[in-house]
Amino acid sequence: MGGLFVTAGFAQSNLPAPGAFTSSELLAKARDAFRQGDFVTAEAYFEAFDRDYGAEPQVADIIEQNKPLIALCKISNGKLPEAVPFIESSIAQPRLPRDILEELTFWLGIHYMQTGEHRIAQEWFGKFYTQKDFSGSKRAEALVMFGTCYVLQGYHRTASEFFEAQIPKLQSSPAGKEFAGRAIVLRLHSLLQAENFDGALRLVKDAYPHMGDISQLVSFQTLSLQLGSKLMEADRFHDAIACLQRIWTRERLLKHQKTRLTDLKLRRDVIGKDPRRQSAVFQLDGMIKRVEREVVNFENIKEFDAALRFRLAMCFQGLERYREAALIMEDMLQAMPPSPIVESASMAVIQCWMQLQRWPRALKTAEDYLQTFGDDPNNKNLPKVFFMQADALAQLQQLDDASFTYGQVVTLFPDSELKPKALFMQGFLNLQMDLNETAVAVFDRFLAEHKGHPQEQDAYYWKGMAFSFAKEYGKTQEHMKAYLAAYENAKYESEATFRIAYCTFCEANYVAAIDEFRSYLEAFGPDEPNADEAKLLLGDALLGEGLADEGIAAYKSINPASTRFFEDGWFKVGKAYKLLEEIETMRAHYEDFLEKYPASQRMPEAVYWIGWTYVAEENLDQAKAVYWETIRAHGDDPELYSISELFDGLPKVYRREGPEAIAILKREIRELQDQARADGKKTLELRAAWAESKLTRRENELLANHQMTRASELIDPEIHNPQIIADCADAALATDSLTIAEKLYTDLRKWHPNSYHKARAYAGLGYIAKAQGKNIEAIAQFEKFEKEAISSIELPDVILAKAEIQVEEGLTGNAKKALEGLLEEKAVSSQNKAKALLGLGDLLVTDKQDSKAVAYYERLYVVYGRYRDLVAKAYLRRGQALERMDQPREAFQVYRELSQREDLRDFPEALTAEKRANVLEPTLPPEAEEEIQPAKEA
């Protein structure tokens, strides 16, 4: 026997001294230690027994009986290769107990697996599995080991098929679930290796509901991530998404696996001391080791979530679902410290928002990017991010900031390929901002620094346009000629040629312009974008030179599709006939227009000119008739907003017959209104009612407002002219019909958001809110008005109304500032400036600063004397302020001056002033001699 203990190892150090015990003692000690689970001591005594008594023939049987126990000791002591001869010898014993045979057979399989003899290992695992009386869990383990051997041999397809067949069997018993989990991981690995991605995806989907049962969950999820990547690379984005969505976050995975590890260790401790459950211990140890290894490795992968999210986002990007991609990446970036993945994801997010035209979001992401990664001198993406930021700013119409940001690309990244593009954009934005001189300088720089760049020609041409926009016609011509000479088949050949002729025309050099326009039209044909403008200008130039027939022909050649130029041309032809005094031709020309283009916004102009021809022939009845005919023919068409202008034009024709004719007109309009009502022509009825009210206004404003308010009942805000809606709303407001006014203003804003009259809705809604004490709402509406109607005549009224609220809210400073702003603004009319002065004076009075207020009132009536209503108010208020300042004499003088001014006599303030002067006069002390005398002398 001797020889079996080839290496003593650990056991050798515990060997009792030779002869220290009898054979029975050694055997008893060995078996006792074995029973107690002290396998090291047991092995040592078994070895001592063999050493001391192994050669004696009478112990041969005992030695045979010991072999399985020795094998088990060695296995337990981690000496599987040493155990193999004992195992092989033991399992040949016919009377070996089944449980020991089970344990040893299993270990033999493990041994061959460890030594790389996978086929032999499979034989042993196979034999093991066929023993139905062996433990179920060990048989399941053997089955997994059998399949694992296929994997180790690289037979992935076979392994996958094998596991596919076995997994359901394993899953059918509670004890087999753990093995099924391992089999699933191994199968997923094999499927990936065999590039069977469909099978792998099916497995991931099927396994997901039971994923918690998989002990190597991290491996499974990592393999799923690999699968997701493979599917993504194959452009199978939906499949990739389905796969990636089934992967847990790093935190959830770690938490799950750490809990599992604790459970496994607990179980290992419980069964570890049972010598007959060593294979189960082995299984548990294996599981613990695997899970521990997974956890340790996984803890080092800090960017697992980022990698997962990034891939998911890429899939959505692959599907051109930019919103989804951006949302995923944006969320990912919020929780992550800066890293290369975060950097490239941030870039992708900006691009996605740009693609979706969500400019504010793109801008914000670009700003965040620059804040986080902007300081890295090696960051190659910086110019691109600056460029996108500038693009977003430009889209948001923040042109100044956009230009500055393009400038940053130019300055900070002179070597970037984006620099010339940014420089060009900077020039172009300067053009948009009317900074023509700056644009020229930028384009000059471009041309100096980027010869041969694809945008060189663009820069060249737009520099010329900058001259043109600056009305530097000579420079434009010179530059455009140079441009045409510099490039053969120039990109902007047609545009530059047109521009040269245009500048010649602008310089009133009509003879040359005629030639240039003709050459242009001949060279580039009628389909060029500028051809119709060229024909119009050619007509102007020809008429300028007295070549009426040719001019008319040029106008008539304009394509009707170019509506604006075509109509301009038509009316210029009419003007030419007028100049030529061809009145009938002129009338026929406009009648032709009326017939062909009744829907044109210029239709009333044509009617006016037809009427004019009749007036010129002193045929007023015909002149009126043409208005009425057109009104009756088209007056019920709600789309023809311009019909209102015909109503506006009628009084001018009627007045030619004397002031009493207006009464006739009013009657006729009322008759039209009645007829329209009878005919159910609501639009015509509304227009007539509106026109009647306008006629009434001159005589009786209150009545006019009531008429207009009543007319508003006919309004269908969706289709009717916003001007009529606004007029009716203003009238309703003036008659304190606030509910009607509010509805009309709201409808006006709702249905005509682009109408010029929209601003009136803001003002009206502001006044209504103010009247209702809703100060915040009122200010909001007034501010919208200010933004919308900077040059409106109503602006000062609105500012004044706003100022009143501001004063009420204790914001006198703001109110004062707003009114002072009006005084400084050049574009503000002098009437509005006068109103602002009055408002400022009133503000100061409210602020108990009468001494300052008097100066503003005085300035008003000294500087803006033609606004008599305001002047009268200013006089009176100045007088009142002087009284409060205890200067009755000065107040008296102001009152007296007002009451004695002929031009102000009709204003109520004049009467008030006179009464007040009369009251004051007797109370004034006689003027002191010394005060009066020098003046008299003077």
Binding site: I241, R323, E324, D331, W751, P753, N754
Partner: protein, 288 residues
């Protein structure tokens, strides 16, 4: 009422007449079948039927492990408002009792009520959602109840309050389902505001003042409806519901291409959800 000795109770229980009955599982492992007549923290009152008649008894609640409630007649088929109302009214007293499905019916009934534009129904729905949220033993129902309560608040016009509560919920929630439901409420509110704004401003596309606000609602509704799909994609029902809602937003925006893409995602990624059929119908409609 006098308590019967347990042994007699078992005798009655064994002689049960085979009707569907509630089962009271005792801590000692025994089970009693009968009709629960009353339930409080001290006693369970059970009517036990036998061949020789029926008996009513009180069982000390401390001896009860749990109660398995038998389904009411027509419970499995109840889908219309009246049927759900009847079941809820019968069951609501057991809402806090473990293993009772009262909360499920409460939610179903409240959801049905919320479909109505009638204020009274919406108020009632809100009350039921509140009750389920506060009292249902089944915590799984709480996120849905919370979401339902917020949706009824929105229906009743308390949009700002609902949105601010949903935002707070979304910020504080650790349970993804709460987060998902909070986002769904936010998205629904945004969508409601989008529809209202478009209705009030039919020409919003050319309205420089309204267009940016409209776009904010549009984007917020979409972003939040897509939330479960993008961040909790394995929550299949919630993801598919969000995708179908996003499809609706796209349809509102007259963007059939993206609406169809959302529906296709449901079919491809969530074929086993209740939303699949609707998604297929939408795809068919948009493909015409």
């Amino acid at each position: 009422m006098k308590s019967l000795p347990l042994i007699l109770l078992f005798a009655f229980a064994i002689l049960g007449n085979g009707l569907a009955e509630d089962t009271v599982m005792m801590k000692d492992g025994n089970a009693l079948e009968g009709e629960i007549l009353g339930l409080n923290q001290e006693f369970v009152t059970l009517k036990i039927r036998g061949e020789i008649g029926s008996s009513t008894s009180r069982i000390a609640y401390k001896n009860v492990e749990y109660i398995e409630f038998s389904p009411l007649e027509g419970e499995d088929e109840a889908t219309d408002l009246e049927a759900l109302k009847a079941i809820w009214e019968e069951k609501q007293k057991y809402l806090s009792q473990p293993r009772s499905n009262a909360g499920d019916f409460g939610l179903a009934f409240a959801e049905k009520l919320l479909e109505s534009s009638n204020k009274f129904s919406q108020e009632r729905a809100k009350g039921i959602f509140e009750m389920v949220e506060a009292k249902d033993w089944n915590v799984e129902n709480h996120p849905r109840a919370k979401q339902g309560r917020l949706r009824s608040m929105i229906a009743l016009g308390s949009i700002k309050e609902a949105m601010s509560e949903a935002r707070r919920m979304a910020e504080e929630a650790e349970d993804p389902r709460v987060l998902i439901e909070a986002n769904y409420v936010l998205a629904s509110a945004e969508f409601d505001q989008l529809k209202k704004l478009e209705e009030e401003n039919p020409r919003w596309e050319v309205d420089d003042e309204v267009r940016p606000i409209r776009n904010e609602h549009f984007n917020a509704a979409l972003d939040q409806f897509l939330f479960p799909y993008l961040f909790y994609g394995s929550e299949e029902e919630a993801s598919a519901r969000g995708l179908m809602a996003a499809a609706e937003v796209y349809q509102q925006a007259k963007d059939p291409t993206n609406a169809k893409l959302c529906a296709e995602d449901v079919v491809k990624l969530y074929p086993n959800t209740e939303h699949r059929k609707r998604a297929e119908e939408l795809i068919a409609k948009l493909s015409q």
